[in-house]
Structure formats: C-alpha cells, structure tokens
Symmetry: C2
Subunit: 143 residues, 2 copies
C-alpha cells in the first residue's frame, strides 16, 4: 500500500513553496533541495497547476506560488486529487469479483479508506509546512 | 494506493473457507468460485499456512481449514501480515528524504495509516464471512 511518487513529490513541492519567506520557489530550487529530478518535478508542477494548487509566475523573480492559502489546502484534498488510484482492491475500480453484491469486506475496506482520508482532511498544508528553522535549514531555505 | 493481489486473494480465500459448512475448502474450489488462477492461490495458501491462518489436511476429504476461529482473525492482522509494503511513502521504508528529521507530513501519514488499520483491526473474518444464502450462493457453496 503506497502512494505514488507523484503524490509524494506533489506534497513535498507544496511544503517547499509554503516554507519560502516570499512564498515563491522555482522548480530547480525544489529539485535541488530534495535531490530529485527536475524533469519529474516539471510534470508535478504542471499537475499542481491544473488542480488549482499553484500558479506559475513568469519572468524575472518568477516561479511557483500557492494559488490558495496554505491554511485552505488539506493533505486529504491533495491526495484525493493527485493520487491516480485510491481503489484499494480491484473490485473498487472494476467490480469483477463474484461476491461483490454481498461482500462485507468491501464495506470494511471502504470504511478504512475513509478513516485514512479523514485524518488527512484534518491536516492542512499550513500544519505540515510550519516555517521553523530546522525544516527551512534542511531545505536550504534562508529565513 | 492499492493492496496487492496477494492480500486481496488471501482475504477472499479465508472468506471462502469460513463460509463452507464443514469449514474446509480445496484450492481448486476457491479458484473456481472466484474465477482466479489455481497456481496463484497455491502460493496464497502456502503463505496463509506459514502465517498461521490455515492448515492443510492431507488425503481424502482433505483441503484447507482455518487454523484459528474466524472470530479471532481480524482483517487488520491479515493485512499487516500479508501486505508486503505498508510504507505509504518512500521515507517510511528507506528514510531518504532530506526533511525527514523535521517532517510533519510523515506524522500525518502515520496517523492516517493507523486509522486505516484500526478500522480493519475492528473487523474479524467472522464479520465478513457471515454464512448467508446470498454470499454462499455467489460462491456456489451448498448450505
């Protein structure tokens, strides 16, 4: 049971932008901070833009900024939007299991997934991107 | 975010055995009931045996039986034992993210995973393998 690298990188990129004193970061900066591929992060930024989480500012002093306040973006919402597949078992996606009409396991798994997402719905980007010196230091962000 | 086919088949096999009036099923029977590969189910049965959930009875009238009462086996326990990877994000497994020491996201994800498993810990095999006519009918099990 894993989230995709895409979801992981999306959350990390949002954290990085939120931690910047001016609230603006470049893809190159995020890539360097986490030691991950700039190419991969370009796709992440594109998707985050489409989903309405970031806006790209062009020109000098440009970069990515949050399109909404960090206090308004929940981790649960990002995971629901970015994670391509929250179908824990094949029957959630295709319904090809013979016992589906009477299956009680699917109810338990549904309830478990909702409990998972409920915890993340109660967590905002502001909660996980608290601008403390340690977190900023690890990302090489000057206060 | 998916459970493996292995975990899915494990739960389905346990349900089938629990639903049998004599509490005993063959691999061929389970494979036929769900329309899944017998070869794959042999591996599932082997792992369920190693994990202490089923016992194989040899000879005529043999087959797989539960090694513990269905009321004592929780779905959460099976998922924890059988699912090879409950590390939602790479850092849970390898710890290679630069912000790990100060990361608040990992706490939120840990809490979410625990909430997910807590729901499944509260669900027993007996809860999901209630021997009603519909469920047995779908699996072709005579009452």
């Amino acid at each position: 049971m894993r989230l995709t690298t895409f979801t992981d990188f999306s959350l990390r990129m949002l954290i990085h932008i939120a931690l910047k004193p001016q609230g603006r970061a470049t893809i190159a900066e995020v890539a360097q901070a986490y030691g991950i591929s700039e190419n991969h992060l370009m796709k992440v930024a594109h998707l985050l833009g489409q989903a309405g989480y970031v806006t790209t500012l062009r020109g000098r002093g440009g970069g990515l900024v949050l399109a909404r306040p960090a206090t308004d973006i929940t981790v649960g919402e990002v995971v629901r939007r970015i994670e391509p597949d929250l179908a824990l078992v094949p029957c959630f996606a295709k319904g090809d299991c013979v016992i589906l009409p009477a299956c009680r396991l699917k109810h338990a798994l549904h309830a478990a997934r909702e409990a998972f997402l409920a915890v993340l719905d109660a967590t905002t980007l502001a909660d996980i991107a608290v601008p403390d010196a340690e977190l900023r230091g690890l990302l090489g962000i000057a206060a």
